[in-house]
């Protein structure tokens, strides 16, 4: 069975498969992203692919947690050779300037690394940010392994793994094509209070609620707010979430999965009933032409997507999504359009 036949049977956004099947694909040419447990990724052959650890997926048969299979997405045929490159704290700010003039860049960053934090805070300021499509995800681990293993990313060309640097694949496209990057976010700002933070960062003590200074942990507790609902900010019509990681009652501190910014107004999201069907309904009409996608592990967990389908789009369920900047509880979709 050759790679072309395999990929033609599966969703364009990729599929779960055995290591052996993945090996056939990766040896068959083309460019790929791969997600899976570290031990499985280490068994894959060298090739033009990048990968990251994660055991949660929206597979072709629905949501699934597995340590037995890897998720492989074949990237669109490229105009030139896709370039694989490592980035560290010094070089990541140039990731967009390094990107091809026409194409897209796929980025995978290991969760909990300082680079994860740096990217979350600074990416909107990177040079050429928003000028060229930058997408990707944050590699994670099985929640049972927290504290025992660290997320890893891998350069499939060299077989090198890293828990501190980011791996990027810069993919050029022919002139007659371009990449369109979008998000599907079911969360909208609720009708509640307007919240602004006094400092940018991954945690907050104080915030301004309708202009009045309060402790944010006390605020969430007093109003019994469901912290599975993200904070949502309106970025000129794009709804951008920040998810709550936890509330430290003793320190009266709230931790987030992405940074809050001090120049942005947030509201707690309106609840989304029947997330699974709402997501399927919110997908773009041309969802089947989507070429690459990922979604958030919090959507997977909070909305109990295991065993459920979310329309025709598949992908890893990650510790953070990248559509230009770091996102939470959001599906990222990229399609290739004809100019």
């Amino acid at each position: 069975m050759n790679g072309r036949t395999l990929s033609s049977l599966r969703p364009a956004t990729g599929a779960l498969m055995s290591v052996e099947e993945a090996g056939v694909l990766l040896r068959g040419g083309g460019a790929y992203t791969v997600a899976g447990e570290e031990a499985l990724l280490r068994r894959l052959p060298r090739g033009r692919w990048i990968g990251g650890t994660i055991p949660y997926f929206m597979g072709q048969d629905g949501g699934r947690t597995t340590r037995e299979q890897v998720f492989v997405t074949a990237l669109p045929a490229v105009a030139g050779e896709a370039e694989l490159r490592w980035y560290d704290a010094d070089t990541l700010p140039a990731v967009c300037t390094d990107a091809p003039a026409n194409g897209f860049s796929l980025l995978i960053i290991p969760a909990f690394s300082s680079l994860h934090s740096q990217f979350a805070r600074e990416a909107p300021q990177y040079e050429d940010m928003y000028l060229k499509p930058l997408l990707g995800w944050i590699a994670g681990i099985h929640l049972d392994d927290l504290g025992r293993h660290a997320p890893q990313v891998v350069n499939g060309q060299t077989g090198e793994f890293d828990g501190a640097r980011a791996i990027v694949m810069h993919v050029p496209l022919p002139d007659e094509q371009y990449a369109r990057l979008d998000i599907v976010n079911l969360f909208e700002p609720g009708d509640g209070d307007r919240i602004r933070f006094t400092e940018a960062g991954f945690h907050a003590h104080e915030c301004l609620v309708n202009g009045k200074l309060v402790n944010f942990a006390d605020y969430l507790s007093t109003l019994k707010i469901d912290t599975r609902l993200p904070l949502v900010a309106d970025y000129s019509g794009a709804m951008i979430n920040v998810s709550v990681k936890g509330v430290d009652a003793a320190d009266r501190r709230v931790d987030f999965y992405a940074p809050v910014f001090d120049d942005t107004e947030y509201r707690v999201a309106r609840p989304v009933p029947d997330f699974q069907h709402a997501l399927a309904a919110a997908l773009p009409a041309d969802a089947r032409s989507t070429a690459w996608s990922c979604n958030c592990i919090l959507n997977y967990l909070y909305s109990e997507l295991e065993g459920q389908r979310t329309g025709p789009i598949t992908g890893p369920m990650t510790f953070g999504e990248v559509a230009y900047q770091l996102l939470n509880q959001t599906m990222v979709v990229m399609s290739i359009e004809q100019a």
Binding site: D90, Q125, A238, D263
Partner: protein
């Protein structure tokens, strides 16, 4: 070590006022010269310094304008609260460059040059140029305009004869679009069109379908809220214009609205 006359060094680096070069170290192999500067000491008989009450000194280090292939680093020990008056050979607190060097880098930003290109041409590290860019984008420092620009220009003029020919001379002129962005066939309004400011300040509302534009516009609006420096504000509008030029073929819906606004 190669010897340099301190008075000549002071002249070359345009160090003026009540400051003196206390020491320097030239590493010809690394093409790097570190220069230590402190407050001028009052001297008595035979050039011996008069005793002065010990002052609490603040330490600063900035990269200064290069002379030929030699990169200069100024290490300043200044009494706390010293008024440096934006001297071109000094820099902002926590910033990597002197005002004179920052002026050159800012001109390159205005020319639409990429950070890696600036680093390559100027022999700067990406990290330092990024820090400076981040600071001006967030209104933490101002561009080197007005009197400082003039002073910086004077300072860099001294070095101009020994610098690489490719390096553009710093000027204080307003932002002008590079030739590539002035294509008459372009559907994007000219960078000088008031429609850009109307878009940024919310006077013009667009129905936006493209994610990157929503994010880009939010960033520019947020930056302009904290940037008071006119040159930096212009730079931000140029960034927005460059975004439209780069993404013209995906912005048909938005450009149609923008052009209506431009005509009106």
């Amino acid at each position: 070590m190669t010897g340099i006359d301190k008075a000549l060094l002071r002249q070359l680096l345009s160090i003026t006022g009540a400051w003196e070069i206390t020491d320097y170290q030239l590493d010809a192999r690394k093409q790097r010269c570190d220069v230590w500067v402190g407050p001028q000491v009052e001297r008595g008989w035979f050039g011996r310094p008069k005793k002065a009450p010990p002052a609490r000194l603040q330490q600063h280090t900035w990269q200064h304008v290069a002379l030929g292939p030699i990169r200069f680093f100024v290490h300043l020990s200044a009494p706390s609260g010293s008024e440096l008056a934006r001297l071109p050979w000094t820099g902002d607190n926590g910033m990597p460059f002197t005002h004179a060097l920052a002026q050159q880098v800012f001109v390159m930003f205005n020319e639409g040059m990429s950070l890696p290109t600036i680093c390559k041409m100027m022999g700067l590290t990406l990290n330092d140029v990024w820090r400076y860019r981040f600071a001006i984008d967030n209104g933490l420092v101002k561009s080197q305009s007005g009197s400082v620009a003039a002073a910086a220009t004077a300072a860099t003029a001294a070095a101009a004869t020994t610098q690489p020919a490719a390096r553009p001379a710093p000027t204080a002129r307003p932002a002008v679009a590079p030739l590539a962005e002035l294509d008459d066939d372009s559907g994007v309004p000219d960078v000088a069109d008031p429609v850009w400011m109307q878009l940024v300040n919310g006077e013009m509302k667009l129905d936006i379908r493209v994610l990157s534009l929503k994010l880009m516009l939010t960033r520019v609006r947020s930056q302009l809220e904290v940037i008071s420096d006119d040159e930096v504000r212009l730079l931000k509008l140029r960034d927005l214009h460059r975004y439209f030029v780069k993404n013209e073929r995906v912005l048909g819906h938005e450009l149609a609205q923008l052009k209506l606004g431009a005509v009106a």
